[in-house]
């Protein structure tokens, strides 16, 4: 019978691998997710069967508890996932990831108590440490994205000292539990130090880098799950956890690459912690911006040949994607060639903008990524920047002192006119001022993305 169970676990693992493979191709991604879910069902049913058929079958009381726990978690998870707005997706992924990490930490703790040894195995400690870091780190990431904690990067020299002390304490506890045996108190201390470490790791990181952090924590949870697989001697957990750990690490690297930064830079640089001195004279007094009225902008937009829309997180926050599509449709009817330029890190997660525009039924063939669209800006009559900032900041090309120097940007400044829809002149997410706004070819249309775009729609209709 064990043979059959092992075979079914293998089947589940294969389904996960094929599912992941499909998830990385646009045409089959949804199938991939379904395959992985089927794999999960196979693994769960197999485990239940093996529990019931084992020489010491699970007691009816515990079985009932298992059923209740699954039902509670399933309802909470599925209802939350159904209700969450597409704009809040990063927070959702963060909190779900925290659940996984927390679960792994609890399992490690339970196994340690179950063994009732003074010492702990490497796998148990690893699951406890990484799971706890992933849990508390994800909670902080969630709080930051949700606006419960300041999104700004928080950075102080004191913190580096505290981090170093915590790390030393962590090593000490690991040594104690591995060799001399510290018992339960040492294990609880390990749990506490790891939780604190997770908080302090994510706290200094600015909101703009949160996607990378969530991706990293995602791979952490994967590794913690793999560790619990070693603890419980279950191959299905080892394979799935490791798959996620490895692919999550690669995904994290790819995201860093899209921003042209290294992972170490993201984690330790305190990016956006303070307003930078870049073009320090931009105090507003020396440079002036040109403002444009809704009606003038509408007239301009209705009488051009080609328009490139550059959406950013501001558009997402204002839920303006539907109005944007309406505007694009209206202009298309008037003969304007409309394209969307999607920066790899537009929004708050890579690909986030594509999801939001897809939600608004923007045709897929109007979306272009950075390499495809950049040559087109020179020929475009207008670039309409909606709630985007850093991804169109020319300082990334030219200003070596700028923190975003070297990040690939959309060349919106090369088009004939630029219209920027923005709430105010406050610097964006990363706290860096944008030279594009002071260019003579740029006009600012102040207002929140949804209000401004809706007014543009009305104005274009009356033309």
């Amino acid at each position: 019978m064990t043979f059959v169970f092992e075979f079914l676990y293998l089947l589940a693992a294969v389904l996960f691998i094929v599912g992941l493979k499909f998830l990385s191709s646009p045409a089959r991604a949804r199938q991939g997710n379904t395959l992985a879910a089927v794999g999960m069902t196979v693994a769960t049913v197999t485990l239940l069967a093996s529990m019931l058929m084992s020489p010491e079958p699970v007691t009816p009381g515990n079985l009932r508890l298992i059923a209740i726990a699954i039902a509670v978690g399933a309802v909470a998870g599925a209802v939350g996932a159904r209700r969450v707005a597409m704009t809040d997706m990063p927070q959702m992924v963060a909190i779900l990831n925290g659940c996984g990490g927390g679960s792994a930490a609890l399992i490690s703790t339970a196994e340690f108590l179950h063994m009732s040894h003074a010492r702990a195995g490497a796998d148990t400690m690893f699951g406890c440490i990484i799971g706890s870091i992933s849990f508390s780190g994800s909670v902080v990431a969630f709080a930051k994205l949700q606006g419960l904690v300041s999104e700004k990067a928080i950075n102080s020299p004191v913190q580096k000292v505290v981090n170093a002390l915590l790390f030393a304490g962590l090593l000490g506890l690991v040594g104690m539990l591995a060799f001399s045996g510290g018992g339960a108190p040492a294990f609880y201390a390990l749990l506490g130090v790891s939780l604190a470490f997770g908080v302090l790791m994510v706290m200094p990181i600015g909101g703009a880098d949160m996607p990378v952090v969530i991706s990293l924590l995602n791979s952490f949870t994967g590794l913690a799950v793999a560790a619990t697989g070693f603890v419980l001697q279950n191959n299905a957990l080892i394979i799935s956890g490791t798959l996620v750990g490895a692919s999550g690490t690669l995904l994290t690297m790819l995201m860093c690459k899209a921003m042209n930064r290294s992972l170490a830079n993201v984690l330790f640089a305190g990016f956006g912690s303070a307003p930078t001195a870049t073009g320090g004279s931009i105090a507003g007094a020396t440079k002036s911006v040109r403002e444009v009225s809704v009606d003038d902008a509408a007239v301009l937009l209705a009488n051009i040949q080609s328009l490139i829309i550059v959406p950013g997180y501001g558009m997402a926050v204002a839920q303006a994607q539907h109005s944007v599509r309406e505007l694009a449709d209206l202009l298309a009817k008037k003969g304007v060639d409309v394209k969307y330029a999607i920066h790899p890190v537009a929004g708050r997660m890579p690909g986030h903008m594509n999801v939001l525009l897809a939600e608004a039924n923007v045709p897929y063939d109007q979306l272009f990524d950075l390499d495809q669209i950049n040559p087109d800006f020179e020929r475009a009559d207008v670039a309409l920047v909606i709630g985007a900032n850093d991804v169109v900041n020319p300082a990334a090309r030219s200003d070596k002192t700028s923190p975003i120097y070297g990040m690939p940007i959309l060349d919106a400044d090369k088009s004939r006119h630029v219209i920027v829809i923005k709430r105010s002149m406050n610097p964006g997410f990363a706290g860096i001022d944008n030279a594009l706004y002071y260019e003579p070819r740029t006009s600012m249309l102040f207002g929140d993305a949804k209000g401004a775009v809706s007014k543009l729609v009305e104005a274009v209709k009356t033309l």
Binding site: N33, S103, V338, M349
Partner: protein, 102 residues
């Protein structure tokens, strides 16, 4: 070192390579769904919680196991549902595409 542990290490090492290989060429568009999809897969931690809870004696272990299963199930079900919602939209947009082109 037991033969069982060695076999587990083999599985681990090979899974690392598979994990890297399988998503090596993923378009940026799919980064978010892929992140949430892999997130759902580590929801398998629920099974670990079930194993703990199945053999739990006493209030401490039972509570730990129960919470582990609840959190794992949230991760698992939430992850798959949220990923499916995102990917559903990618598909839905293909319909207006032919007529929507100017």
């Amino acid at each position: 070192m037991t033969a069982g542990l060695m076999a587990e290490i083999w599985v681990f090492a090979l899974a690392v390579f598979v994990g890297f290989e399988v998503i090596s060429k993923v378009p940026v568009v799919l980064h978010t769904p892929l992140m949430s999809g892999t997130n759902a897969i580590h929801g398998i931690v629920m099974l670990g919680g079930m194993l703990v809870l199945a053999s739990a004696h006493g209030p401490a272990l039972t509570t730990l196991g129960f919470l582990a299963v609840v959190l794992g199930a949230m991760n698992l079900f939430g992850g798959f549902v949220v990923t499916d919602r995102m990917l559903e939209m990618f598909k839905a947009k293909k319909k207006p595409a032919p007529g929507g082109k100017p």
